[in-house]
């Protein structure tokens, strides 16, 4: 493999990692506050892809209207799910919330089957994104740059919100010690809703970028990316936002590199993420950046 | 040979030292108390003996064997049983089932024998049931045997926990604040009861308590812990008059 090709793969890996990171942050924030693995997050991602498809391609809105609308609607979907399915179970044993998350995921997938049909829909890609930029012998399509740039932009925005604003501070406090945070006057319900708004909005952004890159939209498209994003968050350290981002980037990078260096293992690219999860949980459960303690036996 | 030797154990959690260089030795049949202000590390000591925590330094020798860091079920098999600060009963199970769980470690039949329903298993189960009911009777809980443990009032719950702990046929019983939530009258009954249990079952008892009346009333020997260190050890009157102990408890009202 030439160095040029390697750089191309590197770029692809970072792009994929960026998309995983957008999803991973949402998982991480929800887990940090509610200790809930939001299985439905990947399906919010999927729904957002469909929303983008309809607003942009079916209703013909220009992309700079359709995409923000998608993000808003995606965020809204996240909040609705939280209110309807998770809030009533906050006092219930943890297994109930997990079952509810799975139930919501199931429901969303089935609704997608009914409303959108099981046949894949074709997302479009504006031709300018297919333009290839070459530096020397390294050729990278514009889409890759755009997706990396967009992911990084949104992640920076999210980091700003979380680390430099009052609501962000409240969310962090809540994820560390919800009892005390509540006593300090932080409105738990509002903050949790905000968490879902931000997380789901990011997922929607990720969905748009994903659909531009992989233009086949299916009802079950969110399951695997969602799972991998969460694994990335575990790798980086659940409970640590930079950890989630780092882990997700590493996972995306690793996945692409695996296929690049060992093309015979292409069929196993999904197992790569699972293998990482298994190794991490067994040997370094708090992840690379030492997130929260994993409840151990 | 002493039954329990806590040999200079230290427990550190990251930067925090919960227990520091503790030495305790107990002979068979003793009734020893562990007291100290809140946060002194008393439950941590129990957790180290019963295997929930592995000491950072030092060893725990029980009945001649080094059980340092052995998991709680191994400690139970060796003969250490305990109750918890907030009675950790199996709330969904009946009272007698709770006690039956305590018997489980003595069960010889395999799971397959149990599933198939071999007579050898049935006999063992019947014997365990009889022993459980006998224990419940000894603790005055017979008519509560079939009740769900979660629905019981506080007092009986604590007694069920003790029955369950006794079911493991321990040599050493660790009682973590057995009198918590009891008034003076109930505490007095509990004192007599604990002493009776020690005599009848031939146990050694190590108990943590806040209520001075209970501790001074039954314990033959008392250890005082403060900030993870042993600051005093001796018979009740020695401890009561020890200036360091008084200092540690200053500001804390006792009903002694």
């Amino acid at each position: 493999m030439t160095f040029a090709v390697f750089l191309q793969h590197l770029a692809n890996g970072i792009a994929l990692g960026g998309m995983y990171a957008l999803l991973a942050v949402g998982y991480n924030m929800v887990y940090g506050i509610l200790r809930l693995t939001n299985f439905a997050h990947g399906d919010v991602f999927m729904m957002s892809a469909y929303i983008a498809f309809y607003t942009w391609l079916v209703f013909g809105l220009p992309w700079y209207v359709a995409f923000p609308v998608t993000m808003v609607l995606g965020a809204l979907l996240g909040v609705i799910i939280e209110r309807a399915a998770y809030r009533p179970l906050r006092q219930a044993p943890r297994i109930s919330s997990m079952l509810a998350a799975i139930g919501v995921s199931f429901l969303l997938e089935n609704i997608a089957f009914v409303v959108f049909g099981g046949r894949p829909k074709a997302f479009q890609r504006p031709p300018f994104l297919d333009q290839v930029f070459s530096i020397g012998s390294v050729s990278v399509p514009a889409l890759t740059f755009v997706s990396i740039a967009a992911s990084v932009l949104f992640l920076l925005l999210m980091s700003y919100i979380i680390y430099r604003t009052k609501p962000g501070l409240a969310m962090r406090a809540l994820s560390m010690d919800s009892e005390t945070a509540r006593l300090m006057g932080i409105n738990i319900n509002t903050m949790i809703s905000l968490t879902f708004v931000l997380g789901s909005g990011l997922a929607a952004a990720g969905a748009i970028i994903w659909s531009l890159k992989y233009p086949q939209i299916l009802p079950l498209m969110g399951a695997l990316p969602g799972l991998k994003a969460f694994i990335g968050a575990v790798l980086g350290g659940i409970g640590s936002i930079p950890g989630a981002m780092l882990g997700a980037f590493l996972l995306g990078l690793g996945e692409i590199m695996l296929v690049a260096f060992l093309p015979t293992l292409t069929g196993y690219r999904d197992v790569f993420a699972f293998a990482i999860l298994i190794v991490v949980l067994l040997f370094k459960p708090r992840g690379l950046l030492q997130g929260k303690e994993v409840p151990k036996v | 040979m002493s039954l329990l030797k806590v040999d200079h154990v230290t427990m550190q959690f990251g930067g925090l030292t919960a227990v520091s260089d503790l030495f305790v030795e107990m002979e068979r049949g003793e009734l020893v108390g562990l007291i100290g202000p809140n946060g002194a590390g008393k439950t941590t000591v129990f957790n180290m003996i019963s295997g929930v925590y592995t000491p950072t330094k030092g060893r725990v020798i029980f009945d001649g064997a080094d059980i340092t860091g052995k998991k709680p079920d191994r400690a139970a098999a060796a003969g250490i049983s305990r109750t918890f600060q907030n009675a950790r009963l199996f709330t969904g199970l009946s009272v007698v089932d709770n006690v039956m769980v305590g018997q489980h470690l003595r069960l010889k039949s395999s799971p397959l024998a149990a599933m198939v329903g071999l007579p050898s298993y049935k006999r063992e189960e019947q014997a365990m049931y009889d022993r459980s009911m006998a224990l419940l009777e000894r603790l005055g809980l017979t008519n509560l045997a079939q009740r769900k443990a979660g629905g019981l009032p506080y007092g009986p719950q604590r007694r069920v926990e003790i029955a369950r702990a006794l079911a493991t046929q321990p040599k050493l019983l660790l009682l973590d604040e057995p009198a918590a939530g009891m008034n003076a009258e109930e505490a007095k009954d509990l004192m007599a009861f604990i002493r009776g249990v020690r005599d009848e079952f031939g146990l050694t008892i190590f108990l943590v308590e806040h209520q001075m009346r209970v501790v001074m009333g039954i314990c033959e020997r008392i250890l005082v812990l403060d900030h993870g260190e042993k600051i005093c050890e001796g018979c009740p009157s020695d401890v009561q008059n020890n200036p360091q102990v008084i200092q540690a408890y200053l500001g804390v009202t006792t009903n002694a």
Binding site: R35, T37, A85, I95, S96, M98, L99, A100, I102, G103, V104, F106, L107, N110, I111, F113, V114, A223, L227, I231, V234, D270, V271, F274, L277, I278, L281, V294, P295, K296, V297 | K71, P72, D73, A76, A77, S81, R82, F84, R88, L89, F90, T91, G92, L93, N98, M100, V101, Q103, H104, L105, L107, P111, A114, M115, V116, E125, M128, A165, T168
Partner: protein
């Protein structure tokens, strides 16, 4: 107490004989569709019990059963297909030499399916159970999906996405229900035994259970391996009844379906699964009419494909949100209990009348 227990046994035996007579009558009078439903009900009871032992009885939230079902299904298929059939299936990549000419009787294949699934269950459970509750679900899901991916890729053994076709349907009503009743009996015995108590104790409070001498790893693994074996048997029977299998059948979509049956019946209750699994199976079948157009006199209501699963998922969510206990909660069936229920009904009528 012993007399009541004996009476219960006699009644159970009687019930079994009656059920057997019912099966005999059904096989003689029912059309193939109804008989298939009958068999599916039995198979899903076995699968549901496999899930309930781990998730309900032991309280360990595992999503790994899809993989175990796959192992059982493929074991049975590979061991019962004739060399000719195998040659027809493995047209892209030939089957590995060891299996190419191997054909075993159904019973042997079934036993091996259970054993292999149990072994895989152990390999998955042993590491996975060391991790806490939240991550166990994720880890077992990852293992299960990995097994599916492996099945897609190891062409010489599984024939990949092409799947295996032409499996002989050995899963008669008698085999299915015989195994189902055996599974019910063994699982109920386990639940009522002290091992069952130990598992429930782990479910309620594993720290206290461990302090009382219950070895957590041993017991959790026990539940896991037994559950995996049941899933393997269920998977094998499914392979027979469907006569063709391919890896995506055993993905998380199917995993959730079984979980739903167990939840609706009642997590932790054998009776719940025995009632819930057939109920959900029949309900799913009955709801099929929603997918198809319906003629109501002059009005034609168009069918919406997939709507029944939407309805089904909504029902599941309702169950999780409002009827968390399921139909029977964690209660178990007993003849004495039934007698009491009937008696109180009678009393109620007398008071009203």
């Amino acid at each position: 107490m012993k007399i009541a227990a004996d009476r219960g046994k006699v009644l159970s035996l009687l019930g079994l004989v009656l059920f057997g007579l019912f099966l005999w009558w059904a096989t003689g009078h029912w059309d193939p569709f109804l008989l298939r439903m009958l068999r599916l009900c039995g198979i899903y009871i076995v699968l549901g019990l496999g899930v309930n032992v781990v998730n309900g009885l032991a309280g360990q939230f595992s999503l790994g059963h899809g993989g175990f079902m796959l192992v059982g299904a493929y074991t049975l298929a590979l061991l019962t297909l004739t060399p000719e059939k195998k040659e027809m299936c493995f047209y892209l990549v030939p089957c590995i030499a060891a299996l190419r000419t191997l054909t075993l009787p159904f019973v042997v294949a079934l036993v091996l399916a259970a054993i292999l699934a149990a072994v895989v269950g152990f390999l998955v459970g042993a590491p996975a159970l060391r991790v806490g509750g939240d991550y166990l679900a994720l880890l077992t899901l990852a293992f299960s999906e990995s097994i599916v991916v492996l099945a897609f890729n190891i062409m010489p053994i599984t024939n990949g996405a092409l799947g295996l076709k032409g499996i002989v349907d050995y899963a008669s009503v008698w085999w299915v229900w015989g195994l189902a009743i055996l599974a019910i009996f063994l699982t109920r015995s386990l639940a009522e035994s002290n091992y069952g108590r130990a598992l429930k104790a782990i479910r309620e409070d594993e720290i206290a259970a461990e302090a009382m001498g219950v070895n957590l790893f041993y017991h959790k693994t026990l539940a896991f391996v037994y559950g995996a074996a049941l899933c393997g048997i269920g998977g094998a029977l499914l392979a027979c009844i469907n006569s063709s299998i391919e890896p995506s059948m055993f993905g998380f979509y199917f995993t959730f379906q079984i979980l739903v049956m167990v939840i609706i019946g009642g997590l932790g209750s054998v009776t719940g699964t025995v009632i819930g699994a057939p109920l959900v199976t029949i309900m799913l079948e009955a709801l099929r009419f929603i997918d198809n157009p319906v003629q109501l006199g002059p009005i034609r209501i168009p069918g919406i494909i997939g709507m029944r699963m939407v309805l089904f998922s909504t029902l599941l969510l309702m169950a999780i949100l409002f009827f968390r206990e399921g139909l029977v909660g964690s209660r178990e069936f007993s003849w004495a209990g039934l007698a009491r229920a009937v008696a109180s009904l009678g009393r109620g009528k007398k008071q009203a009348g």
